[in-house]
Amino acid sequence: MGKENGAGFSWLLKMAWRDGKASYGKLLLFVFSITLGVAAVVSVHSFSGLLKENIASQSKALLGADYVIESDKPINSKVKGIIDSLGGADAREINFLSMAAFPGNGQTKFVEVRGVDGGFPFYGEIETEPSSAVEGYKKGLALVDATTMIQFNLNVGDSIKLGAITLPIAGALKTVPGSTSVFGAIAPPVLVPYQYIDSTGLVQTGSRIDYKYYFQADDSEDMAVLSEKVEPILDAEDADLDTHLSEARRMGRRYENFGKFLNLVGFIALLLGCVGIASGMRIYVQMKLRSIAVLKCLGASKRQSYLIFFVQIACMGIVGGLLGTGLSYFLQQLFPILLGDLLPVDVAIGLSFQSVLLGLSLGLAMSTLFALYPLMKTLYVSPLQALRVVDETKSRSKMATTAVGLGIILFIFCFSYWLLGDLVRSLSFVGGLLAVFLILTAVAQFFIAMLKKYFPNSWGFIARQSLKNLFRPQNQTLVLVLSIGIGTFLISTLYFTKDMLLEKAAIEDSANSANMILMDIQSQQVEAVSTTIENSGLSIIDKIPIVTMRVENLNGEQVEAIRKDTTSQVSRWILNHEFRVTYRDRLIESERLIEGNWIGKVNSDTEIPISVSNDFAERAKVTIGDPVSFNVQGRIMDTRVQSIREVDWSRLQPNFSVVFPTGILENAPQFGVMTTRTKDDSGSAKLQQQLVREFPNISILDLKRILSLLEDILGKIGWVINFMAFFSIFVGVAVLMGAIYSSKHQRVKQGALLRTLGAKGIQILKMIAIEYAVLGFLGAFMGVLLAVLGSTLLAFMLFDTTFTLSWVPFVIILPAITFLVFALGVGNSLGIVRNSPLSVLKKEKE
């Protein structure tokens, strides 16, 4: 130990323990902050990992097979050849969206019809109620989604009408491989034997139909090799190969982003805890200065006196990390409850070695890193302080301070990069966080400066005294504003974001916009459907013709050639997708022209001026004036890009990637979409029943229902986000309690002295109450304001919408948090007025 005495590391441990056990009350609060923060991060991280693992381990059961070849059109001879070369499909499926009617009660429902044959599923199982219903289905009956059965009060033996056929219901379908509950909430699955699909008469031009061919493979068959071999050939024929592995990866990715987001929320909770540690340590070290001076008098070196407290912090970090990891195990149990059926698989909760290691290292690293700066003060304590109060003139080394600050930022960046795996996002996260910290710090300091400068000297004694407390030496103003501000910022931002998403969807449900969309209307049905709607006393808002087509040629290059060109940047979606194209002479509300000029009508069919959406242009690598040829059901049409539109796809209305001018496609084979607005639920149900009865092939989207489902899904996701955000607030409360507890000795002494001088208990309580109310309000108000700023940026940059201010954070969150701070502060200070000044001062001296 260089120029040191004979005491080794074990002495440091011993001293850290001795001092720690006498100060455990204060240290416990620090441990509590770390525990909560670590629990937040580890629970989300561990659960995300487990979900991914479970999806991977149940991938075959999720798909029902080892792999599937699918296409959105009947397969051609080449694809059939591939299927045959693979030994022939073990099962087939045709699925599409359609309206189902229940003759027993006359009600209708938008469903996903799945006609399956063969031994599907080969993995996983079809779960039904009663369980014997599967046998009935195999014999030719239908299985209807269990929730739908309950909603429509259906029983085994009732009938379901799909297009032209009516089948008895064998039972309620609880789960079936290939159907997700999220999508199932909009279009619940109905399972029917494959052979009935044709007789439904629903497989018509314009219908969105999926053809699937399921395969069971040998265990030795390598899916990656198969994919590599077959995928390019299938791609060229507008078909796809999905293996159970690729399906698991895709599904995993869906939840990954959400998991990453939650991880960041958890990480913020941990950071908040660390801010608490840093502030608590500052006060803690301040209280230990005399002891440190005495230790130095007795011969302890600078390093030793520093390390005693460093070891304490490290131990707290380890204990907090371990406790947090343990707590995360219980928190994880809550996620399946909160997320409910949004989860695709049952997740077996557990704690991996990696999670324990993560919790432990996070607890250790974060606590020591954040304690470094306040601990540096121990290095500069003069032993002379043991003799008398010394005016500390030595300040921390600037280099060391900068190094600690940079170390913290670097650690946060590295950890967020590890969580997100994206440099730009990690930098944005750290930048955003720094901005919030800096703004809150600046505001707190500005507030203190203004308060000092324009101090209300004319105010009464109590108000003046409580305001002075905000800038007394070792005040907690900054740390309280920081912790309250960040917690409020998080909660409010999450609220604004959720509100914004719902508002964005709900706006279409107002005024004279459509709330019902009728799809798959054949040309010859248009008049009759119009009449039915108008006879119901409703008006048709829009009639949209749709012509299906595929891209044939891009910028003079055949799609075939582009497919083979490995250097091509053109998206596969452009090359393979069957586009549903409309024609009209005007832009609609959800569109904005961003390039070129709009031509709504033409008379000649040479070089037709079309309008494409910006994402189409981006993916097809085309710009204004570029030629694009389409294959319109056998006929090639040459067009050129006349304009590029920005389309708001999030609007619940029919939107199009490609729009033709009028005067060209009027005679092409087409089908239609109509929109109308029903007045109420019963009117909507009545019209749906009539339409399904008269036009069984038409699909009806009830936007009101979709909105309520969307609200339900967002609500569930919101629950989890709110849960994590409240966790941050909870950590904030722990930090707050730590800060209040740490600074209590000053208030106690001041309160007791004031009482000795004649102040009444109630006056002291009022002082404390005003101080905490001001701190609570300042922190929470800044948090909400920053959330408005953050949400406006999110609206502008991420959601591409305008921010609509919600008053809830101002009228509920702001007062609630202010009250919480006030109550905690006052509650914690009651002891000052309950006991006699002498006993308080005596106790304080101890």
Partner: protein
């Protein structure tokens, strides 16, 4: 007799606002091994500053201090700490026990800092010597002022120091307790042959020492003995 403490032309200046304040001015004296020495003077005369400098708790660039044969100002802070640990004991006016350690733990800190193995046994012995064998597990807050000062005495003598610095050792105690502490201080001082440097207002206490100096406004006004 060899010198345990040698102070030569020592001055100390503090910066106070925009002017310098000389709190010690050309102070010189010597203390022999085993000798008792008192520094007396009114408040603000520079007694505590002098004690702090002599014990290596503070530094100055005017004058020299030789403690146990070492020039204090040649050592850095950790070097001075090591010197204190091996040669110096302290008794403070307000006891300065570590509040989070028990009586025994307070006493053995200097021993542990030296890496001594059976520190606890020695600590028990020392506490018994000051009559606190039954209070070993008590925290400072559970002890009376006199008891705390006795613990401080036991701690001061724990590492068998060559010199002990005492800053108003009886200042915070009532007369009876103060007298007992004084007796104990001199008793152990005699037993162990430790030089004793006491800063005090108490002239009676100063008269009990072998030598003394009286400070006024940072200068030696009188030397006795």
């Amino acid at each position: 007799m060899s010198k345990i403490l040698k102070v030569q032309q020592l001055s100390k200046t503090y910066r106070s606002g925009d002017h310098d304040l000389k709190v010690l001015n050309n102070v010189s004296f010597e203390v022999d091994k085993g000798e008792s020495f008192a520094i007396v003077g009114p408040s603000g005369s520079g007694k505590t500053t002098l004690l702090g400098l002599c014990a290596g708790l503070d530094t100055t660039n005017e004058g020299e201090i030789w403690l146990c044969g070492q020039n204090l100002f040649d050592l850095d802070e950790d070097g001075r700490a090591q010197l204190r640990n091996q040669n110096v004991g302290f008794v403070f006016q307000d006891f300065q026990l570590l509040p989070t350690l028990t009586a025994l733990e307070n006493v053995i800190v200097p021993l542990e800092l030296r890496g001594i193995k059976n520190a606890s046994a020695q600590g028990m012995e020392l506490l018994a010597k000051v009559g606190l064998q039954n209070r070993v597990g008590h925290y400072p807050s559970q002890l009376s002022g006199g008891e705390q000062q006795r613990v401080a005495l036991a701690r001061a003598f724990a590492n068998k120091p060559s010199i002990l610095f005492a800053d108003e050792p009886t200042g915070n105690l009532d007369d009876d307790t103060g007298t007992k502490i004084e007796e104990l201080l001199f008793e152990i001082n005699n037993e162990q042959g430790t030089a004793l440097v006491i800063v005090t207002h108490d002239l009676e206490l100063a008269q009990k020492t072998d030598k003394s100096i009286r400070l006024r406004s940072g200068k030696i006004e009188e030397t006795v003995g």
